[in-house]
């Protein structure tokens, strides 16, 4: 089998990625303090063949290993890698003997984005309820048309992870989501996204925060229903940084989840390194959501751009 682009990208190991892995490890470390259902994993990851994020967890002492570097017996349930390429599975297993690998596509884990099919094995359900889910994707935010509605399968998959976390006992969890920073939407999709944002700009606080973050010119492009796919790399990244967490908050606020966007970052877009966007979002079960969903939603919105920023080519965070 020929080498995959994702594995080559992981192998290159850029400064930005190194910084992100350190952030993911910190999230895992924090979540490990609340990780009190040992059968359910702490960390579910699309690690790629190199398993660099797993390596970071080991280096930080979050996952322990035996003297031959195999994952220790005590921590064997803590981390689950999701990988469907047999060469990547083999490489991961060689690097981390004893590592649990779910050998399918991550979409298969939740049985796709649709609401009708769900994981049926207890093991898969357990994996879906990990305290940290790291979806480090090498793909843009792809829309699909569902009877005239624009849907984003990856966001629907996140929603399914939420549904599984809200089963008893409910688990607060953290999502680490990374996507390509390019917008590949057709003009009609682009227009509908702009309308969605304009609608939400009715909230003064959100509009002001967005205007500050996007700048007047880019904000105006939204009002003008400009073709977002034709914007510069940086502007496309910024649009996604506003849209994705906003959309996720919108999807979850009336279902009991309060979202705290802890990191909202962009990087890449230089030296043949693809522009990327990445988020750390904490999903907290909030009992107020059933009685005062708007309040919870507003609180979620407030955090969207609080930690927005970029990682420069030296790997330094600028928020």
């Amino acid at each position: 089998m020929m080498p995959r682009q994702i594995d080559e990208a992981m192998f290159e190991d850029r400064h930005e990625k190194i910084s992100m892995r350190k952030i993911w490890a910190k999230v895992a470390e924090r979540e490990s303090l609340e990780h009190n259902i040992p059968e359910e994993p702490l960390f579910l990851t699309l690690s790629g063949a190199e398993g660099r994020d797993i390596e970071e967890l080991i280096q930080q002492g979050i996952i322990s290993t035996e003297e031959n570097l195999a994952i220790s017996e005590e921590d064997k349930d803590k981390v689950v890698a999701v990988e469907n390429s047999f060469t990547a599975v083999l490489r991961l297993q060689k690097k981390f003997p004893g590592l649990k690998i779910y050998e399918h596509d991550y979409k298969n884990l939740v049985r796709g984005p649709g609401p009708l099919r769900w994981p049926d094995s207890e093991e898969e359900k357990r994996y879906c309820r990990a305290k940290v889910i790291n979806l480090d994707l090498n793909e843009p935010l792809k829309p699909i048309d569902n009877g005239g509605n624009t849907e984003f399968p990856i966001l629907q998959i996140v929603e399914k992870f939420c549904r599984l976390h809200e089963q008893d006992p409910k688990i607060d969890w953290s999502l680490c989501l990374t996507l390509h920073g390019e917008i590949i939407w057709a003009p009609d999709v682009s227009s509908s996204i702009s309308k969605f944002l304009i609608e939400n700009f009715k909230d003064d606080d959100f509009r002001n925060a967005c205007t500050t973050f996007l700048g007047d010119s880019l904000s105006q492009s939204i009002y003008d229903l400009a073709d977002l796919a034709s914007l510069s790399n940086e502007d496309q990244q910024k649009i996604l940084m506003v849209f994705v967490p906003k959309k996720l908050s919108h999807m979850h606020h009336n279902k009991g989840w309060k979202l705290e966007v802890e990191k909202n970052l962009r990087y890449g877009g230089h030296d043949s390194f693809a522009p990327m966007v990445t988020w750390i979002i904490k999903f907290k079960w909030d009992s107020r959501a059933s009685s005062t969903p708007d309040l919870v939603y507003r609180e979620s919105l407030n955090s969207i751009l609080d930690q927005a920023g970029k990682i420069n080519s030296s790997g330094i965070l600028d928020c």
Binding site: M1, T65, A70, E73, E74, K76, F86, Q93, G98, E103
Partner: protein, 507 residues
């Protein structure tokens, strides 16, 4: 006269044929444990000239990977090899692999071993110089059906179905990766070791020794530990690893035998090393799990070499002054083409039980037999046919050698041990007396004396009571001890003992 009757005085003749069912029967249920199946797959990799095999079982044995860097298979070769079992072409062209290894496989049923532990075997293989990557999935569901549902018009019996595809691979690649999927629950129970944090382990009701996560050096140390009575002391996962390692042509541990005896076995160590074959399971580097630790006690190695009419063989017999531990190493292990036939046979190929029954437990032997012995090997590759000429000839040679080894054990180890034991006992007695002499006198209290008298009922109790309650002087103790020493020690030891005691007391 009925149709099934033959007229009197009619001559009958014909050929006795073997139905496909026999082959089907013979190739089913051959492998008694997951380890037996794994070693078949490892030996397939060896025959493919691999020098590195990596097996992955953990964390929960719900799928097993066997990856090797051997020559690999093209789609065409796969079809040729696997379309009809027992017509294997493994040794068609040569008895050896390209690198010169004697091929282990003979009739090509090794791959069927996988069906004993899983329902699906997926093979990914590519050959150097070929841009084809074969990906084929073999489904063993068919094997679970009754034979009548699997037989075709040509009386051939389907063992499994396969389907696959060909993808592109770099021409420099050469490997075979086998994924065993749908692992049977009973196999998972064996290969997924118990959780070490479980209360059963802590309470000791489950076996706690595991090799998981251990480096090669640590495995060697564990095996050297005299507290291990048998491989049963390990968890089933580790025991399986040891079983695989014993069978396959991997190297020895660095310190498997004490230095003084290494010279006598260096040929076997070098021959094994020359095969350049390494295997790991979950990162545990496998070595032959043959590690002896005689401690301070005497031991010896006797070389064995035989050249007969049907078979020739070389090997060693190791003997030590106590039972071989773990007991799995007691007996004789026969290897053909570097691969073990079964496990150690503690009867030494049915050596008479009346001869040296104690000493046999102190001996461990490993013998490499020539290809001739393959004629006596059963299809399961773990037993030999005892009436076969090759077996009988080797058995006789081994028994003859074993007799000599037992004799040596008696003369060199047991007798030497006896003298040493006496020496140790005498030394201890001297030490005890030194301590005793430091106590100038002693008395017993009345109740202790009563107890002694009650226990000592064959003598005049009033006299004993008086004697026990008496205060003894050092001189009296000295005389009593000398009397005992003269009685229990050899004259030489008694002399040395008395000299030492006298000197000590004089000081």
């Amino acid at each position: 006269m009925g149709d099934d009757q033959i007229e009197n005085n009619t001559e009958i003749k014909g050929a006795i044929k073997v139905a496909s069912k026999i082959v089907d029967y013979l190739s089913s249920g051959l492998y008694e444990s997951p380890a037996s199946c794994l070693k078949e797959l490892v030996n397939n990799a060896y025959d493919a000239d691999a020098n590195r095999v990596e097996i992955f079982i953990k964390p929960d044995a719900d799928r097993i990977i066997i990856s090797d860097n051997g020559t690999g298979l093209t789609p065409k070769e796969f079809v040729r090899h696997f379309s009809l079992i027992s017509e294997s072409h493994k040794r068609d062209e040569s008895e050896s692999t390209e690198s010169g290894r004697p091929k282990i496989g003979k009739i090509g049923i090794g791959f069927i071993a996988a069906n004993e532990i899983c329902n699906v075997m997926e093979i990914h293989s590519t050959k150097q110089g070929s841009s084809e990557l074969l990906i084929v999935s073999i489904n063993f569901d068919k094997m679970r059906l009754d034979v009548s549902d699997r037989i075709d018009e040509d009386k051939k019996i389907t063992k499994a179905d396969y389907e696959g595809r060909v993808e592109e691979a770099p021409e420099t690649d050469h490997y075979t990766i086998v994924f065993l999927k749908g692992i049977k629950d009973s196999v998972k129970e064996i290969l997924a070791s118990p959780n070490l944090s479980s209360p059963e382990i802590r309470e000791g009701s489950l076996k706690a020794i595991t090799l998981y996560g251990k480096s090669c050096e640590s495995v060697e140390k564990v095996l050297q530990g005299t507290s291990i009575r048998s491989w049963d002391d390990f968890d089933l996962y580790s025991e399986s690893i040891l079983q695989v390692a014993l069978n396959i042509p991997v190297s020895y541990h660095k310190n498997w035998l004490p230095i003084p005896y290494k010279q006598l076995v260096k040929k076997f160590v070098a021959d094994t090393k020359k095969l350049n074959f390494s295997v790991s399971i979950d990162g545990i580097e496998l070595r032959k799990p043959i590690v002896f630790s005689p401690g301070e006690t005497p031991a010896f190695v006797s070389q064995f070499s035989y050249k007969g009419e049907y078979v020739s063989a070389n090997g060693y017999f190791y003997a030590q002054n106590r039972a071989i531990k773990p007991q799995n190493l007691n007996g004789i292990l026969i290897r053909i083409r570097n691969v073990a036939i079964g496990t150690y046979d503690p009867t030494f190929l049915d050596f008479p039980s009346t001869i040296g029954s104690l000493y046999k437990k102190w001996i461990s032997a490993e013998v490499w037999a020539s290809d001739g012995l393959e004629n006596a090997m059963n299809i399961d590759r773990k037993t030999l046919r005892v009436a076969q000429a090759e077996y009988v000839e080797l058995q006789e040679a081994i028994h003859k050698h074993l007799k000599g080894v037992i004799k040596r054990v008696g003369e060199e180890i047991y007798q030497k041990g006896r003298v040493e034991r006496k020496h140790v006992n005498a030394t201890k007695a001297i030490e005890d007396l030194h301590k005793l002499s430091e106590i100038k006198s002693t008395t017993f209290d009345r109740s202790a004396a009563k107890k002694l008298i009650t226990a000592w009922d064959k003598v005049d109790s009033s006299k004993v009571e008086t004697l026990i309650l008496k205060k003894y002087s050092v001189t009296e103790v000295y005389e009593a001890v000398i009397g005992v020493a003269e009685e229990v020690l050899t004259p030489g030891q008694a002399r040395r003992f008395i000299e030492a005691l006298t000197k000590r007391l004089s000081e």
